[in-house]
Amino acid sequence: MSETRPGGRLPVTVIGGYLGAGKTTLVNRLLRAADGQRLAVLVNDFGATPIDRDLIVSSAGDTLEISGGCICCSYGSDLMDVLMALPERQPDIERVVIETSGVALPGMVASAVTLLLPYRIDGIVVMVDVETVRTMAEDAYLGDTITRQLGAADLVVANRCDLVDGASLQQTLAWLATENPAARILPATRAEIAPDLLLGLRDGALPRLSATLTTPGAPDAASLYASLELDVPEDIDVAELGRRLSAPGTGVLRAKGILGEVALHVVGRRFEIDAAPADAKPGRLVVIGLRARLDRRAVEQALQPRLSTSLRSA
């Protein structure tokens, strides 16, 4: 299954969710936090997704050049065409972020991306507005679209937490957990999440956490997230490690392990095995999660060999 190529395939993050959930805010945050990583951000349309003006260096047709070497393209109904042309048009791109239209099903978008060899799905992030999502899920027209979007998420960003009181927030988070029990749920305000969760963990260093958390009253980044860096035994079964880290209950939001020739990428409930980057240091696993949720023991246990047949047959 893991067809590996030198340097690995281009990771693709799919960001879904209905209008007003905060997708645009998140995209702008990612562009600001790219920190030298060259992103290609593909948006359905420029009109509905204004990129912050100060980020734009120049524009030509359907492509904006963003400061820091990133680009932003609008794709309309031609996502596949844009993706097929991208590696040739922008050979130095390191990561792709797709913002889907409000009514698109991100699971279907991700499944289409897997048909293209240069890419792998890094994660499906679905944003919801905690104030409205349960009403939307009951809407005669849109309800099934909302729940299908949620069902496809590896990571649910429960956004706009500042707009609801504590009790109803807890109810909504519990409801989200029943809609997609395997996904990780990340409460957020103004789409403020650690950019590393979506942009990847850097080699050899503990992750950068959220660059700025500016919402008054919000907890600061250091207290919100916890990270772990661990040695990985050489003989580990990578697929089994991926399954364990992505299983419900570990609290792992993202993990990256370089294990010999391959890299393990975990985003929420999804894991992928790909070729290791050329300059990566093997034998290390980096994990981040919410401080309140990350289960250090579960992560450590995931690294232990287990006497099970599934381990060998994987």
């Binding site: 299954m1 067809e3 209905y18 209008l19 309309g76 409000g102 289409a112 048909l115 027209y141």
Partner: protein, 549 residues
């Protein structure tokens, strides 16, 4: 005093669609427009004239108006036709329907032998395997055509490709581990060669010659489309979902402006990748570029997908076979925003809705927009609108909406709708032309060419007879009269395009656009309406015989 010459055409019968004078024997034409239809002695009052007897044994009708077609039909004829039913190409050659998968393969083999280079792709269209039993078309079938060149065939629905192994290989899909709902796998774990849905199709499209660049801005295709229009008696045809980039607009303006171009093309800008503000602004600017034979400035919106592709949005209880509900193509906020702004700026919007839930959504959005922005004569039209029920037609009437229904579906996919997609009861109310008329909804009917063949008389036959390919009649209560059907393919469609003051009937002041028929559609048996022979057209007073000059 004018010096422009007057021609008076004498005909066996002229069906004018003008209720004050429904029939005539002569029509007088000056400067490409109609002076009048009536007896010769009355028309002689306009002054000196030339009497033209070319149509003395023919029947004239107002030139047909195709309210939902795509100029891509002209493009597709560059590929090999592989449909189940006979179809006439732009040159008038009738390609017989393919009777079996063997027959399809044989035709591809024949086309393959004519290709010059060993690697050139081979493309076909119109395939409809539901007529060949349960056996699916697989890549091994087309590997018998070639293993060195990519072979790809688009299904009649436009939603599926079948390709050979080479095409899969070029697209990077001839591998293990492909995991996509639109790509079935064989026992060997490799794709079978069937590719469903736009994403899977796009990946192989370029390798088999169906790439976007080949389809956009196709001058030769536009000319072929025009020739098809002449053969079918069409003098005004929509090109209903074009992105209309500048170079395509220039090409279309140049080609349609040529003295010998026989059709008025009404091209709608597709609402895609733009905000309502942007697309309305673009429509207003495009409108200013309109000419007599190229009408621009209207917008096409997609609300949902297709019924046979299970991507249409249905209300409860959904699909008959239990398939999950379809997809929204545009969020309701964008639909409402577009409607409101378009009403404000006087821009015409036609909305594709197939499922009844999509229709309901469009009605809700328009009702809300009209409260904000009252408009007395908007003529917003629901295109396809196949599953609308009686209550929805009544609502459409109250909101001033038009419907352009799709009776050709009954013939091509009616059996499938009955057995699989929507079940017998709703299949009987699909494309409810009689209910639309009884509810007072302005009605047009269409082919959606190239999905089904361009041919308003065939479409009219479909609305009159509602007969499926297997011979079922789906919903006799929704059959309409021949007279009503003829009105929908002329004045009815013209109304939805806001062109009913210019075309759609033969009366003083209108364009001299005629369908010239060998047989009388009011005399021929209704079940033979599709067999009416067509001589050609007159457009803007110019004669266009179907079989060359």
């Amino acid at each position: 005093m004018t010096s422009s010459p007057i021609t008076i055409f004498r005909a066996r019968r002229i069906l004018t669609m003008n209720p004050a004078r429904p029939e005539a024997t002569h029509v007088a034409v000056r400067e490409g427009r109609i002076l009048g239809a009536g007896p010769l002695e009355e028309l002689a009052g306009w002054g000196a004239y030339t009497l033209d007897d070319s149509f003395a044994d023919k029947v004239l009708m107002p030139g047909f108006v195709e309210g939902h077609s795509h100029a891509a039909e002209g493009t597709f004829w560059r590929y090999t036709y592989l449909g189940r039913f006979d179809r006439m190409d732009p040159e008038g050659k009738v390609w017989p329907g393919a009777e079996s998968i063997e027959d399809v393969v044989a035709r591809l083999q024949e086309a393959e032998r004519k290709l010059a280079t060993p690697t050139e792709a081979l493309a076909g269209w119109g395939l409809d395997p539901i007529y060949y039993g349960d056996r699916r078309v697989v890549r091994a079938d087309f590997d018998r055509v070639s293993t060195t060149r990519a072979v790809g065939v688009m299904h009649a629905s436009g939603h599926i490709f079948n390709v050979n192994s080479r095409a899969l290989e070029l697209a990077g899909l001839l591998r293990q581990g492909v995991n996509h709902p639109g790509i079935p796998l064989g026992d060997d774990g490799l794709p079978t060669g069937e590719l469903k849905g736009p994403e899977a199709m796009t990946i192989v499209g370029a390798h088999v010659g169906f790439d976007r660049e080949a389809l956009a801005n196709d001058e030769a295709g536009l000319r072929r489309f025009a020739r098809l229009c002449v053969r079918q008696g069409v003098t005004t045809a929509t090109d209903l979902a074009n992105l209309l980039p500048d170079d395509a607009v220039s090409m279309m303006a140049r080609v349609t402006g040529e003295a010998g171009f026989p059709v008025r093309i009404v091209s709608f800008r597709r609402f895609q990748a733009l905000t309502p503000e942007q697309v309305v602004d673009m429509a207003v600017k495009l409108k200013a570029k309109s000419t007599d034979r190229l009408r621009l400035g209207a917008i096409k919106l997609f609300v949902d997908g297709s019924i046979q592709g299970f991507s249409a949005r249905l209300r409860w209880p959904g699909y008959y076979n239990g398939a999950p509900n379809g997809l929204w193509y545009t969020p309701p906020e964008a639909i409402s925003g577009l409607y409101r702004l378009a009403l404000q700026k006087g821009v015409l919007v036609h909305s594709h809705t197939n499922g009844d839930q999509a229709t309901e959504m469009a009605l809700d959005c328009l009702e809300g927009a009209l409260l904000d922005q009252p408009a007395r004569d908007h003529r917003f039209t629901l295109q396809h609108c196949q599953l609308a029920d009686a209550a929805q037609f009544r609502r459409m009437a109250r909101l001033g909406m038009c419907a352009n229904l799709f009776p050709n579906h009954h013939f091509y996919w009616g059996d499938q709708h009955c057995e699989t997609t929507v079940g017998p009861e709703r299949a009987m109310r699909m494309n409810a032309c009689a209910t639309a008329l009884a509810s007072g909804v302005p009605l047009a009917i269409h082919s959606d060419a190239p999905v089904t063949p361009l041919g308003p008389l065939f479409t009219a036959w479909g609305a009159v007879n509602r007969r499926t390919a297997s011979g079922r009649v789906l919903g006799t209560t929704e059959c309409i009269s021949v007279a009503d059907a003829l009105r929908t393919i002329t004045l009815g469609a013209a109304w939805t395009l806001k062109l009913d003051g210019e075309v759609g009937s033969i009366e003083c002041g209108k364009r001299a656009d005629f369908a010239v028929l060998e047989d009388d559609p009011l005399e021929i048996a209704p079940e033979k309406l599709k067999d009416v022979r067509i001589w050609g057209t007159v457009q803007g007073g110019r004669l266009f015989p179907a079989n060359g000059a």
